[in-house]
Amino acid sequence: MNGQVDALVTQAALARGSFNWLESIELLREALALDSTHARAHAELALSLVEARRLRAAEREGTLALGYATAGDDASATAHAHYALGAVHAAQRRPIAAWAHCERALATSAMHVDARILGAYVKDQVGDATAALELARGALALHPDDPHALAVHAVFQSRIDVAVADASIQRALTLAPLDPEVNLAAARIALAAHDNIDGARKHLRVVLGRDSYHREALSMWLAIKGRTEPVATHLWRLGLWMRRTIDLEDYAVICAWMVIATLASIIARHVGAVAIANYLRYAWVVFFAGVWIARYLSTSFDAEVNGLPG
């Protein structure tokens, strides 16, 4: 049975690698139905759930993976469980906790290349560029043909040696031309090292094609837009923010808007500006209108991202 479970876990990891998270999750369900104490299956499930944005469940699966791996005294599975938990915390925007798990993954198994790659990005996020470069170099030394190792190396190497970084990113793009992580790295290098706007746009299209809310890709796209059309950029920023609020159902923003509008209405009435107070009572209509405008603005954004006339 263990052989069957291992085969399912391997298949799931391949499915995750080709961005098919639904299939990956289903395969891991099958694997865990056969053996619910399989640490690696829990860790892989945590990683797939991160991609599916089911972060609470991902954290639980990561914790289960770590528990079973520790109980089974399996160093490789323990390192993978720590890596999975690191990925969960990175997705939850908790870089300190993410790094703590990467560090423990690497202390358990120095050969864990994914933990090195994740650690490099996390270290860069907290402002430690030297450690990020060291981790990226370590990842590449372990797996010279891993597209993600090549990409992370290229990003951090580009700050000191552009030629070496270009060689790394070209190799990564040859190995995985449609990988979002590789394309994001290529866009960063195209923009920061070469000031190549068209090249950066081409790579960002690939990233946004996979995830239209990719925060960093959107920021880079807007930064490019801002160079030539500052007014349009502000409108787009507003439109995308509203679209994100509605599509991802960010209730806090919607509710805060209403509470602030009502508070303003009460204050306006108090100071005698009754007409303004009455208008403010209909702030929810303004919000709905804003949503409609945001749809229009983001359609033109999508058209440009997809290379269509906006």
Binding site: I25, A33, R54, R56, Y251, C255, T262, H270, R281, W284
Partner: protein, 159 residues
């Protein structure tokens, strides 16, 4: 037998009547909690949410807390601490804010269940006609109650 992930919702026969929690939030803002609270409770069952117990507990806290806050507010009015007019409006907004904060918590729990359903290929509708009808009859419903305490408990954010 398949392995159950922690946030997997349970299949229910009511699923097609489940709504996006965002509409219940809008209902709370525009129409009032008389519409939003039952909507959230129904949604918990219809979605088969894995966090149903937590959602219903938050709902109970919201109802009981609103009653307590509204009662406290009117007691303060009675002893002259809160004056009618701006102060009373601000106090009513305080009660509404309490309701809305808890509604956000419930909605974000339900959003996770909705996302899993959508990810599995199910369509979860907005059911906007319910919202529109609720909005249209909101005044009628609220004026049915002569007790101001009940009205404050059941009203929306637009005080």
């Amino acid at each position: 037998m398949s392995y159950a992930i922690a946030d997997d919702p349970v299949e229910t026969s009511l699923r097609r009547y489940a709504s996006r929690p965002m509409v219940a939030i809008y209902a709370l803002i525009v129409a009032g909690s008389w519409l939003a609270w039952p909507w959230f409770a129904f949604n918990s069952f219809a979605l088969g949410s894995a966090t149903k117990r937590r959602e219903l507990t938050l709902l109970a806290i919201s109802i009981l807390g609103s009653i307590a806050l509204a009662w406290g507010m009117f007691e303060l009015v009675a002893i002259g601490v809160i004056h009618p007019g701006t102060q009373l409006l601000l106090a009513r907004l305080g009660v509404a804010t309490f309701k809305i904060v808890l509604a956000c918590q419930i909605a974000s729990l339900q959003r996770d269940a909705v996302q899993v359903h959508i990810y599995d290929g199910a369509a979860i509708e907005f059911h906007l006609p319910v919202f529109h009808v609720g909005n249209a009859i909101a005044m009628l419903v609220l004026t049915t109650f002569s007790d101001p305490l009940i009205r404050v408990v059941l009203e929306g954010v637009r005080v």
